[in-house]
């Protein structure tokens, strides 16, 4: 394959540009927001956007800690932990929120699979957590009764 001078520099330029993009990837973590999953308005759409094609099974190894009655839906404290090995992510969904996906934690090999966050719930709803491990999803869920909704105004 022959290459003239102009072609050579053009390819060199493209290669360098690609290498630069690759080198900057680890710093680009703060730009990986899954817009489609957070914008989804139905639970199944949000799950499909976040975890395309993954099978879900209920698991007692996933512990979801949340109040059964939340007097104030604007601050609902929840914790998720699991004894499962090789956990790569933990996501929290509120079925009846206008956008069901509330948060998605990415776990590294250094992470402990135990996270807490405070979320908003617009009304009484099923709270679902999915734990991703070795290409499968493990689910725990419970209903949280909301006395005063958290999306007022």
């Amino acid at each position: 394959m022959s290459m003239n001078r102009r072609e050579f520099f053009s390819r060199l330029g493209k290669t360098l540009a690609f290498a630069t993009i690759c080198a900057s990837l680890p710093r680009a973590v703060l730009a990986s927001w899954n817009k489609e999953a957070f914008a989804a308005e139905a639970l199944d759409q949000a799950i499909a956007a976040r975890y395309p094609g993954l099978a879900i099974e209920d698991s007692d190894a996933v512990k979801l800690k949340a109040p059964t009655i939340a007097e104030n839906g604007s601050v609902v404290p929840i914790s998720v932990s699991t004894s499962l090995e090789g956990v790569t992510s933990i996501s929290v969904f509120v079925e009846k929120n206008p956008a069901p996906l509330a948060a998605s934690f990415h776990l590294s090999p250094l992470s402990i699979a135990d996270v807490s966050i405070r979320i908003r719930m617009g009304e009484t709803s099923q709270l679902i957590t999915l734990v991703e491990s070795q290409g499968k999803l493990y689910r725990a869920q419970q209903e949280v009764k909301v006395t005063i909704g958290g999306c007022g105004g």
Binding site: W33, S74, A103, R120, G153
Partner: protein
Amino acid sequence: MKVKAKQSGEIVKVKMLISHIMETGRRKDDAGKLIPGHYITEVVARYQDKIVFHVETGSAVSKDPYLAFAFKGGLAGNKLTVSWVDNQGNTETTDAVIK
């Protein structure tokens, strides 16, 4: 942003409280106009240049977000760096010394 990190045996437990309005984008002002969404989209914690925590968040996270997590291998006296970014491109970074 307040970050507290404490070593407890082999793990470091971290708690943080971020000051942020977390506007959902679904509320209306007195004139009936939609208030634009303004919320944190990602929070990352790094320890010795390794990412030890990363969460993507949506508008359903409460105002002034509280987050807690834990990681292995951190030592008291060393630094943990926490950063967040919101949907309007604002960011904040804080260092916390592990106790």
